[in-house]
Protein backbone atom coordinates (compact mmCIF):
# COMPACT_ATOMS: atom_id res chain seq x y z
CA UNK A 1 0.00 0.00 0.00
CA UNK A 2 1.32 3.38 -1.00
CA UNK A 3 0.47 5.74 1.82
CA UNK A 4 3.09 8.36 1.12
CA UNK A 5 5.20 9.87 -1.59
CA UNK A 6 8.52 11.61 -1.12
CA UNK A 7 9.43 14.71 -3.12
CA UNK A 8 12.76 16.17 -2.06
CA UNK A 9 12.40 17.26 1.57
CA UNK A 10 8.60 16.91 1.50
CA UNK A 11 6.46 13.89 2.28
CA UNK A 12 2.93 13.76 0.85
CA UNK A 13 0.56 11.50 2.75
CA UNK A 14 -2.58 10.42 0.86
CA UNK A 15 -5.21 9.91 3.51
CA UNK A 16 -7.70 7.04 3.11
CA UNK A 17 -11.47 7.38 2.77
CA UNK A 18 -11.94 7.04 6.52
CA UNK A 19 -9.37 8.28 9.02
CA UNK A 20 -10.12 6.69 12.37
CA UNK A 21 -7.89 5.30 15.11
CA UNK A 22 -7.33 2.07 13.17
CA UNK A 23 -6.22 3.85 9.98
CA UNK A 24 -4.35 6.67 11.73
CA UNK A 25 -2.28 4.17 13.72
CA UNK A 26 -1.41 2.33 10.50
CA UNK A 27 -0.34 5.57 8.82
CA UNK A 28 1.79 6.57 11.80
CA UNK A 29 3.51 3.16 11.79
CA UNK A 30 3.90 3.23 8.02
CA UNK A 31 5.59 6.64 8.03
CA UNK A 32 7.76 6.41 11.14
CA UNK A 33 10.77 5.43 9.08
CA UNK A 34 10.56 8.23 6.54
CA UNK A 35 10.07 10.86 9.26
CA UNK A 36 13.05 9.54 11.19
CA UNK A 37 15.13 11.11 8.40
CA UNK A 38 16.19 14.62 9.48
CA UNK A 39 16.16 15.82 5.88
CA UNK A 40 12.37 15.57 5.73
CA UNK A 41 11.21 19.10 6.50
CA UNK A 42 7.65 19.34 5.23
CA UNK A 43 4.55 17.21 5.22
CA UNK A 44 1.43 17.53 3.07
CA UNK A 45 -1.75 15.67 3.97
CA UNK A 46 -3.96 15.01 0.94
CA UNK A 47 -7.65 14.78 1.89
CA UNK A 48 -8.77 14.17 -1.71
CA UNK A 49 -10.25 10.73 -0.94
CA UNK A 50 -11.29 11.41 2.65
CA UNK A 51 -14.93 11.43 3.65
CA UNK A 52 -14.63 10.71 7.34
CA UNK A 53 -12.16 11.69 10.04
CA UNK A 54 -12.35 11.66 13.81
CA UNK A 55 -9.93 13.05 16.38
CA UNK A 56 -7.45 10.26 15.59
CA UNK A 57 -6.67 12.18 12.40
CA UNK A 58 -5.90 15.27 14.47
CA UNK A 59 -3.53 13.11 16.53
CA UNK A 60 -1.82 12.01 13.33
CA UNK A 61 -1.37 15.56 11.99
CA UNK A 62 -0.14 16.84 15.35
CA UNK A 63 2.34 13.99 15.60
CA UNK A 64 3.90 14.76 12.22
CA UNK A 65 3.83 18.50 12.98
CA UNK A 66 6.10 17.81 15.96
CA UNK A 67 8.50 15.87 13.75
CA UNK A 68 8.92 18.57 11.10
CA UNK A 69 8.48 21.66 13.30
CA UNK A 70 11.74 20.93 15.10
CA UNK A 71 13.47 20.97 11.71
CA UNK A 72 11.90 24.27 10.66
CA UNK A 73 9.38 22.61 8.37
CA UNK A 74 5.68 23.05 7.74
CA UNK A 75 2.46 21.07 7.62
CA UNK A 76 0.05 21.64 4.72
CA UNK A 77 -3.41 20.24 4.07
CA UNK A 78 -4.72 19.86 0.53
CA UNK A 79 -8.03 18.96 -1.13
CA UNK A 80 -9.93 19.72 2.07
CA UNK A 81 -13.68 19.30 1.52
CA UNK A 82 -16.41 21.00 3.52
CA UNK A 83 -16.87 18.25 6.08
CA UNK A 84 -13.14 17.90 6.71
CA UNK A 85 -12.89 21.67 6.96
CA UNK A 86 -15.47 21.63 9.74
CA UNK A 87 -13.54 18.98 11.68
CA UNK A 88 -10.22 20.71 11.10
CA UNK A 89 -11.57 24.11 12.12
CA UNK A 90 -13.09 22.72 15.27
CA UNK A 91 -9.89 21.01 16.30
CA UNK A 92 -7.88 24.22 16.01
CA UNK A 93 -5.37 22.45 13.75
CA UNK A 94 -5.16 25.48 11.42
CA UNK A 95 -2.99 27.13 14.06
CA UNK A 96 -0.24 24.70 13.11
CA UNK A 97 -1.17 23.64 9.58
CA UNK A 98 -1.92 25.57 6.39
CA UNK A 99 -4.78 24.74 4.07
CA UNK A 100 -3.69 24.84 0.43
CA UNK A 101 -5.92 26.10 -2.37
CA UNK A 102 -9.45 27.30 -1.82
Amino acid sequence: MNIYEKMGDTVIISLPEEVDDYRASMIIEGTNEVFADDRIKNVVFDFGNTKFMDSSGIGLITRRFRDVHDRGGEVSLMNVNQRMDRILLMSGIYRIATKLGR
Partner: protein, 145 residues
Protein backbone atom coordinates in the same frame (compact mmCIF):
# COMPACT_ATOMS: atom_id res chain seq x y z
CA UNK B 1 -42.82 8.60 15.95
CA UNK B 2 -42.79 5.38 17.96
CA UNK B 3 -39.76 4.36 19.93
CA UNK B 4 -37.44 2.14 17.97
CA UNK B 5 -34.35 0.50 19.35
CA UNK B 6 -31.26 -1.54 18.51
CA UNK B 7 -28.30 -3.12 20.22
CA UNK B 8 -25.04 -4.60 18.98
CA UNK B 9 -22.13 -6.23 20.72
CA UNK B 10 -18.71 -6.60 19.18
CA UNK B 11 -15.13 -7.30 20.15
CA UNK B 12 -12.76 -4.56 21.22
CA UNK B 13 -10.78 -4.38 17.99
CA UNK B 14 -9.87 -1.18 16.15
CA UNK B 15 -11.07 -2.81 12.92
CA UNK B 16 -14.60 -2.70 14.38
CA UNK B 17 -14.65 1.11 14.65
CA UNK B 18 -15.94 1.30 11.08
CA UNK B 19 -18.58 -1.34 11.77
CA UNK B 20 -19.88 0.60 14.77
CA UNK B 21 -20.18 3.79 12.73
CA UNK B 22 -21.99 2.11 9.84
CA UNK B 23 -24.50 0.32 12.08
CA UNK B 24 -25.46 3.47 13.96
CA UNK B 25 -25.55 5.55 10.76
CA UNK B 26 -27.88 2.99 9.14
CA UNK B 27 -30.14 3.00 12.16
CA UNK B 28 -30.20 6.79 12.08
CA UNK B 29 -31.37 7.02 8.43
CA UNK B 30 -35.01 6.42 9.44
CA UNK B 31 -35.04 9.86 11.08
CA UNK B 32 -34.32 11.38 7.66
CA UNK B 33 -31.16 13.18 8.81
CA UNK B 34 -29.01 15.56 6.80
CA UNK B 35 -25.59 14.38 5.67
CA UNK B 36 -24.03 16.61 8.31
CA UNK B 37 -26.13 15.07 11.05
CA UNK B 38 -25.12 11.55 9.97
CA UNK B 39 -21.47 12.56 9.96
CA UNK B 40 -21.79 14.19 13.38
CA UNK B 41 -23.24 11.02 14.90
CA UNK B 42 -20.68 8.81 13.15
CA UNK B 43 -17.86 10.95 14.50
CA UNK B 44 -19.20 10.85 18.06
CA UNK B 45 -19.68 7.06 17.92
CA UNK B 46 -16.19 6.64 16.52
CA UNK B 47 -14.72 8.67 19.39
CA UNK B 48 -16.61 6.73 22.05
CA UNK B 49 -15.75 3.30 20.61
CA UNK B 50 -12.10 4.31 20.20
CA UNK B 51 -12.12 5.39 23.83
CA UNK B 52 -13.36 1.95 24.91
CA UNK B 53 -10.77 0.14 22.80
CA UNK B 54 -7.76 2.25 23.71
CA UNK B 55 -8.53 3.29 27.26
CA UNK B 56 -11.21 0.90 28.51
CA UNK B 57 -9.51 -2.26 27.32
CA UNK B 58 -6.06 -0.79 26.63
CA UNK B 59 -6.09 -2.50 23.21
CA UNK B 60 -6.77 -5.89 24.83
CA UNK B 61 -9.77 -8.19 24.54
CA UNK B 62 -13.21 -7.18 25.67
CA UNK B 63 -16.76 -6.58 24.56
CA UNK B 64 -18.27 -3.29 23.53
CA UNK B 65 -22.02 -2.83 23.45
CA UNK B 66 -23.88 -0.11 21.62
CA UNK B 67 -27.49 0.50 22.47
CA UNK B 68 -29.48 3.09 20.62
CA UNK B 69 -33.04 4.18 20.35
CA UNK B 70 -34.92 6.80 18.44
CA UNK B 71 -37.80 8.68 19.96
CA UNK B 72 -39.39 11.82 18.52
CA UNK B 73 -36.57 12.20 16.01
CA UNK B 74 -33.98 12.18 18.77
CA UNK B 75 -31.32 9.48 18.77
CA UNK B 76 -30.09 8.24 22.13
CA UNK B 77 -26.88 6.24 22.08
CA UNK B 78 -25.08 4.33 24.82
CA UNK B 79 -21.61 2.93 24.34
CA UNK B 80 -20.75 0.48 27.08
CA UNK B 81 -17.51 -1.27 27.98
CA UNK B 82 -16.44 -3.37 30.94
CA UNK B 83 -12.86 -2.16 30.90
CA UNK B 84 -10.67 -0.40 33.44
CA UNK B 85 -12.90 2.66 33.87
CA UNK B 86 -11.94 6.32 34.13
CA UNK B 87 -10.56 7.44 37.52
CA UNK B 88 -11.20 11.16 36.98
CA UNK B 89 -13.96 11.87 34.45
CA UNK B 90 -13.65 15.67 34.66
CA UNK B 91 -9.95 15.42 33.91
CA UNK B 92 -10.53 12.99 31.03
CA UNK B 93 -13.02 15.39 29.49
CA UNK B 94 -10.65 18.35 29.50
CA UNK B 95 -9.72 19.30 25.94
CA UNK B 96 -6.28 18.05 24.89
CA UNK B 97 -5.96 15.85 27.96
CA UNK B 98 -4.53 12.45 27.25
CA UNK B 99 -3.78 9.91 29.94
CA UNK B 100 -1.65 7.87 27.59
CA UNK B 101 1.27 10.27 27.45
CA UNK B 102 1.20 9.09 23.88
CA UNK B 103 2.16 11.66 21.29
CA UNK B 104 -0.09 10.05 18.67
CA UNK B 105 -3.26 11.01 20.55
CA UNK B 106 -4.99 14.34 20.23
CA UNK B 107 -6.87 14.16 23.53
CA UNK B 108 -9.89 15.62 21.78
CA UNK B 109 -12.22 12.61 21.84
CA UNK B 110 -14.63 13.94 24.45
CA UNK B 111 -14.50 17.46 22.97
CA UNK B 112 -15.60 16.01 19.62
CA UNK B 113 -18.41 14.03 21.25
CA UNK B 114 -19.61 17.16 23.02
CA UNK B 115 -19.38 19.27 19.88
CA UNK B 116 -21.27 16.90 17.64
CA UNK B 117 -24.00 15.74 20.00
CA UNK B 118 -26.57 17.70 21.99
CA UNK B 119 -25.92 15.95 25.26
CA UNK B 120 -23.10 13.84 26.67
CA UNK B 121 -22.99 11.98 29.97
CA UNK B 122 -20.07 9.81 31.04
CA UNK B 123 -20.53 7.23 33.78
CA UNK B 124 -17.54 5.24 34.90
CA UNK B 125 -16.30 3.13 37.74
CA UNK B 126 -12.69 2.09 38.07
CA UNK B 127 -12.36 -1.65 37.46
CA UNK B 128 -15.94 -1.98 36.21
CA UNK B 129 -16.18 -0.03 33.01
CA UNK B 130 -17.50 3.04 31.28
CA UNK B 131 -20.82 4.01 29.76
CA UNK B 132 -21.02 6.99 27.45
CA UNK B 133 -24.54 8.31 26.87
CA UNK B 134 -25.18 10.75 24.08
CA UNK B 135 -28.19 12.15 22.35
CA UNK B 136 -28.91 14.29 19.36
CA UNK B 137 -32.09 15.76 17.98
CA UNK B 138 -32.36 15.26 14.25
CA UNK B 139 -33.91 18.06 12.24
CA UNK B 140 -32.74 20.81 14.58
CA UNK B 141 -30.52 22.11 11.79
CA UNK B 142 -33.36 22.55 9.27
CA UNK B 143 -35.56 24.29 11.83
CA UNK B 144 -33.08 27.07 12.34
CA UNK B 145 -33.40 28.12 8.71
Amino acid sequence: MNKNEMMIEFGSDAKNEGLARIVVASFLTRTNPTLNEVEDVKTAVSEAVTNSIIHGYENGDGKIIIKAYIEDRTIHIEIIDYGCGIPDIDKAMEPMYTSKGDENRSGMGFSFMEAFMDELVVESKVGEGTTIKMKKKIGAEQETY
